[in-house]
């Protein structure tokens, strides 16, 4: 053993013979680990005293090309749950249109008056994501599951690694950097949820979507928003980032010395 990293953890050649590295140079491409192709950007969500607001824009990018501008990334599942997905769109379609649809159909076969709640759907999705990453074949998504569950608002996140966590205000992708600070001003902790009204929550989410459109090059001003309450799920499909401020740009000249 020596100080060179390539030798670390290798059996000594003089004791065990030369290491057979042939399997490392396969002539076949690796079939499992992929990279995302068509992608969706942030999903943002916030709890309030009576539900959850969740939003995601309608863009599916192909690299830096804004390829599809009318893609719905929020999916209602069952009666009181919305799943929002960022990341690879083909994997999102698999989750939304294959797994979740058949999950609901199978649940209804029992016909026992029980329906899947947000926490059940979240548990299922996080298990699927973790299982797939353990097969080195991840579903390249970050998901937010928002819903009304057992008399309380529910909001939690799961990603392609199977990492799960929950907070009263959550955002994925770029939103984790840009939207979460804004959301936490309104909702610093779980206790604050009680004081947030529905209007306040919607306003905050709208503000976040505007900031994300300002600063995220893979975002769109057109977005979908859903409000989940104890009663139902209200969707607003054709939202627009409003009240943008570009007036100041006229006053900016050059990069330092330029005055005209």
């Amino acid at each position: 053993m020596n100080h060179l990293p390539e030798a670390w953890g290798r059996p000594r050649n003089d004791v065990y013979g030369t290491y057979d590295a042939s399997y490392l140079q396969s002539s076949m491409p690796n079939q499992h680990t992929q990279s995302p192709i068509v992608t969706g950007t942030s999903v943002v969500a916030l709890k309030f005293n009576g539900g959850v607001v969740i939003a995601a824009d309608n863009l599916a990018s192909y690299g830096s090309l804004a390829r599809f501008t009318n893609v719905e990334r929020l999916k209602q599942v069952g009666t009181h749950t919305v799943v929002g997905a960022g990341g690879d769109i083909s994997d999102m379609q698999y989750l939304h249109e294959k797994l979740l649809d058949s999950l609901i159909i199978k649940e209804e076969y029992q016909n026992d008056g029980h329906h899947l709640r947000a926490s059940h759907i979240y548990r299922y999705l996080s298990k699927v994501l973790y299982q797939r990453r353990c097969k080195f074949d991840p579903l390249w998504n970050t998901l937010l599951v928002a819903g009304w569950d057992d008399g309380k608002p529910f909001l939690a996140s799961a990603d392609l690694l199977g990492t799960t966590f929950s907070a009263p205000a959550l955002a994925t992708g770029f939103g984790a950097h840009l939207a979460v600070p804004l959301l936490r001003r309104v909702c610093p902790d779980e206790a604050a949820v009680e004081n947030i009204t529905r209007e306040q929550a919607v306003d905050t989410i709208e503000e976040c979507m505007k900031v994300l459109f300002y600063r995220d090059a893979r975002s769109l001003s057109k977005y979908s928003l859903a409000i989940i309450t104890g009663k139902d799920v209200e969707g607003a499909a054709e939202c627009e980032a409003k009240n943008q401020s570009w007036k100041f740009a006229e006053g900016i000249r050059g990069y330092g010395t330029q005055v005209v």
Binding site: G78, D101, S102, I104, I105, E108, N111, V233
Partner: protein, 285 residues
Amino acid sequence: MPSSVLQPLPLQESIHHFPVMTSIGTGYDLSNSVFSPDGRNFQVEYATKAVENGGTAIGIRCKDGVVLAVEKLIGSKLLVLGSNKRIASVDSHIGIACSGLIPDARHFTSRARSEASNWRKLYRSPIPISSMADAMGGYAQAYTLYSSVRPFGVTAIIGGMDEAGGPGLWMVEPSGVGWGYFGAATGRGRQAAKAELEKLPLPNITVEEAVRQAARIIYFAHDDNSKDKDFELEMTWVRLEKGSAEDAAVKGWGKHEEVPKELVAEAERLAKESMEGGGDEEMEE
């Protein structure tokens, strides 16, 4: 070790090993998939006999949907009312009502569910009713082909709505034969039920009207065939323009669901009234 075992029997003996057989009880009904000299499969016909002892099941095809109803015979007062459902959902737009051996019916619907799920995976849309009937007919028929299996002891009424064909109602029998119907009936009271179904102006009635008629027909068929037994009426429908919140998967289509309790109660009340009015020679207490 007797070597004679390996020797062929004398020719004459082997020719007349079995007596000459023509019909029932003469050896052609002992194994599935055996043709009798007149070309029948007796085991399938015996399976049909098992169906004829089951509770009556009917299906009605309407202009705006399909109604399914079964007469669920209650063996004991210790059973919870409304339990042991006999009409199963397949995907979200199809209902299957079976008569005959209940475990066979469960297996049959379980197969129907995987057919529907596979269809969805492949074509990204709910399976059309005719395709479902076709698949299930094929499945039932496969159980008439081998002596190592027995035919299904069920006749299944498959009803639902699809985008291309609208309301669809099919009945698949143990032989695997399946036809589309305006109104279908099977089980013990099928004769009486069929006679009543033929009187209806099908398929031009609404599902609401069909619910009332279905209740009446089940009560009528019960009165005709198994009056001494207790029964429960189970009814489901698939109708257009009735999308509930759970119906996110197939928006704008019919969803197979139980007929609302109030409507069933109303239909049962009318059914009982018509029984009392029409059949006064067989008075009840």
